[in-house]
């Protein structure tokens, strides 16, 4: 195959774009996809301070690399989840990337700073691990952005992530979740603005971006995620994508264009219900936020508190 823009030998083909690319043109293509996402959804400006959530995996490191290449002022934040060797290794990848690129990485270690690890939290709250992890990440990343005085919190959610979440929400007609599934969540009292600049890139593309740019990332999957619903939805969508290239992008991007505007009132009603957590002051629709409830339950679970 030849590179569509320049005619040189290609290293990757992207069936949904009906195109193949050499390494150099592919990197430019990825940066253009991110630039378009940022621009069309007015995610952020070059004068703003951005904090990007870094896991040590392909998506977050590719995002950090691309945002720097596009000229943004970006620092990283890594959350230590306390998932044994997996957490130690992922932190190494995040720190090595920051160091080799001269970038600032903040580290928040949940076991050291909050007294629990994600596996313990999942057991104590009887949640699946990804649920305990997700709510902890949302709370602590938001806090890191606010405490650090950042204008924007950027995450590495890619097209496949968003399509899989959308698929799950549609299967159960979770109207409230659908109304909140936006590439930009505006800043409100107690919430930093949150943006997802990778929504136009599939995860095969973020992984390929890392390979061609020699970005060393943690390939292994989180051991807690094995068999989760999200992965099953991705497999289903990829089975459709293989037969009908472009179906995932159409599903998600058409949702943004055609469906989300119809849900604006639902999103506004939900925002009106948000109050303040009585313990930590974070925004919450309950008297005590989900994170403080989780911390409390871990503390009261015999043998789990540290």
């Amino acid at each position: 195959m030849k590179c569509k823009p320049c005619g040189q030998p290609a290293v990757i083909d992207i069936p949904r774009h009906r195109a193949a690319f050499c390494a150099e043109c592919f990197s430019a293509h990825c940066r253009e996809q991110v630039r378009r996402a940022i621009s069309s959804h007015r995610m952020m400006g070059h004068s703003e301070r951005i904090l990007v959530a870094i896991s040590g995996g392909k998506d977050s490191l590719a995002l950090w690399h691309i945002l720097v290449a596009l000229g943004y002022d970006v620092d990283g934040v890594y959350l230590g989840l306390g998932i044994g060797d997996y957490s130690d290794t992922s932190r190494d990848y995040a720190e090595r990337f920051a160091q080799s690129n001269g970038l600032t990485l903040h580290v928040v270690d949940i076991p050291a700073e909050h007294g629990f690890a994600i596996p313990e939290a999942a057991r104590a709250t009887k949640r699946v691990p990804c649920s305990a992890c997700g709510l902890s990440k949302r709370h602590l990343l938001n806090r890191a952005a606010l405490d650090g005085g950042y204008d924007v919190l950027a995450t590495g959610h890619n097209l496949d992530d968003e399509a899989a979440v959308l698929f799950g929400n549609v299967l159960q007609w979770q109207i409230g979740y659908l109304a909140r599934q936006r590439p930009v969540l505006a800043a409100t009292e107690g919430f930093a603005r949150k943006v997802k600049p990778l929504i136009r890139m599939g995860e095969r593309e973020t992984a390929a971006y890392c390979v061609v740019n020699r970005i060393d990332y943690l390939v292994d999957e989180c051991p807690m995620a094995a068999g989760n619903k999200h992965l099953r939805y991705k497999e289903t969508l990829n089975a459709m994508e293989e037969r009908s290239p472009g179906v995932k992008a159409t599903f998600y991007l058409k949702f943004l264009d055609e469906m989300l505007p119809l849900l604006d009132d639902v999103a506004a009603d939900e925002r009106a219900l948000v109050g303040v957590c009585g313990r930590c002051g974070a925004p919450s629709s309950a008297a005590v936020c989900a994170f403080c409830t989780l911390v409390e339950r871990v503390g009261f679970a015999p043998g789990l508190a540290r």
Partner: protein
């Protein structure tokens, strides 16, 4: 050719010459879910792989 697979990590021998598309299909994988890397370079699906090649099939799906 020697083919390295992940989850779990293991090496298998597959006879060549073989196109990337055929290798992925032979291994029961979806082309959307993996990258095929020869040495340290990506290869496209129409590329032909040979017995002397060292190949990594790298999964790209993450569940977080």
């Amino acid at each position: 050719m020697q083919v390295r697979l992940h989850n779990p990590k293991r090496d298998v021998e597959v006879g060549g010459p073989l196109r990337v598309t055929e290798l992925v299909k032979t291994l029961g994988l979806n082309r959307e879910s993996v990258l095929v890397i020869r040495g340290d370079s990506l290869v496209t699906h129409d590329e032909t792989l040979h017995d002397s090649d060292v190949i990594e099939i790298r999964p790209v799906i993450s569940g977080g």
